[in-house]
Assembly symmetry: C2
C-alpha cells in the first residue's frame, strides 16, 4: 500500500458500507488520499467477535433499518436492497478481486455499480451468475468469462485471504477505514 | 417527557457515554432542547441483542481502547478509568434515580461528577459505599443517607424499570439519544 492511500474495507452486504461508498471518494480527496477498495466478508470477523449481522440482531436490526432510511433521505438516494438482504457477498467480492488483478480501475467501477444496483434497484447479487450478469454490463466482459475468472482457485484464495487479513488487522466491521495506520470503524470517519 | 426534551440514555460504565456526557449540554443547547439524563444498565439490552460489553469483545475491545484514547486527545481530557473497568454501574445509577426523585438538578450534577471521577481519576464506583462516598462530596448529603436512599425498594425498582424501558423502546447501546421520537445511537448524534 502506498503511504498516501486510504484503505476502504467493506462487505458488499453492509448497508452502512453502501452509504460510505457514496462518500469515500470525496472524503479521500479532501485529505489528499487515494482510496484503496478492499471488499471482505464480515462472516470471518463475526466468528472472531461473536457478533452477527445487524439485520438479524434484535433491536439493532430495527434501528439499522430506521437509520438506513434516514441516511438515504439525507443523501438523496433510494435505499431498496433486495428482500433477501443481507446476502453472503462472496460472488461480488470475488469478481472485484479478479478485476483488480487485471485492471484496478474496473474493479472500483464494479464495486460502485454493484453497490448502486443492489441497494437502489434491489438487484440480486447472491449467485455467481447473477453477479456476473451485472458485472458484464459494467465491464463489457462476458458473464461466462467473469464467472470463470472469479471462481478460479487463485481468486478464491485471494478473496479468502482478504477476509483473513481484515481479522488479523482488527477490522471487525463495515465500513472500516485505515489511514496512516489509524483505524476508523463505521460512520466515524464520515463527518 | 416534555416535547422539547432530548433524552440522553447512558450506562455509567460506557466509555463512549463519558465523552457524550461532555458534549450533550452543548448539543442540546444548539437545538434548543433540555437534556433529560437517563442512566440504565446495558446488561438487559445485551440479553436482548446477544451482544456483550465492548471491553470483553475480541477486536472491538482493542479498537474501543484506541478510539477512547483518540477521543480523549481530541477533547483535551484525561481518559483513565479504573483498572477494573468496566464495572456494573448499578450503585451510580441508583444514586442518580434517588437524587432525581428529590432534586433533579442534583442528579444531573451527580452524573457529571461520577463520569468525571470515574473516567479521569480512576475513581472506584463499583460498590454502594464507594459511589455514595463520592456522591456525598457532590451533594453535601451523608454517605449513609445516600446508601439508604439509593438501595430503597422504590429506587431499586425505579432503576430496574429504566433498563426495562430502554429495551422496550429499542435502546440497545450507550450513549443513545432520543429527540422527537428519533433515535440516535452512539456517536451518531455528536458531530
Amino acid at each position: 500500500m502506498a503511504e498516501a492511500d486510504m484503505e476502504f474495507w467493506f462487505d458488499f452486504s453492509s448497508g452502512y458500507a453502501f452509504f460510505a461508498s457514496l462518500q469515500v471518494d470525496d472524503l479521500a480527496a479532501k485529505h489528499g488520499r487515494r482510496v484503496r477498495w478492499r471488499p471482505f466478508l464480515l462472516g470471518a470477523a463475526f466468528q472472531a467477535t461473536g457478533m452477527r449481522g445487524l439485520s438479524s440482531t434484535p433491536l439493532r436490526g430495527d434501528y439499522a433499518r430506521h437509520d438506513w432510511a434516514r441516511l438515504a433521505r439525507r443523501a438523496g438516494v433510494t435505499f431498496a436492497p433486495p428482500a433477501t438482504h443481507p446476502i453472503v457477498a462472496l460472488p461480488a467480492s470475488r469478481i472485484f478481486y479478479w478485476l483488480d488483478s487485471r485492471a484496478p480501475e474496473a474493479a472500483v467501477e464494479w464495486a460502485k455499480q454493484a453497490f448502486r444496483a443492489y441497494y437502489t434497484e434491489g438487484r440480486n447479487l447472491a449467485t455467481n451468475e447473477a453477479a456476473a450478469e451485472l458485472a458484464a454490463t459494467v465491464t463489457g466482459l462476458s458473464a461466462d468469462e467473469l464467472v470463470a475468472g472469479a471462481t478460479s482457485a487463485e481468486i478464491k484464495a485471494r478473496t479468502k485471504e482478504s477476509s483473513e487479513e481484515a481479522v488479523q488487522r482488527g477490522i471487525f466491521g463495515s465500513p472500516f477505514l485505515v489511514v496512516d495506520g489509524e483505524p476508523f470503524w463505521g460512520r466515524t470517519g464520515y463527518r
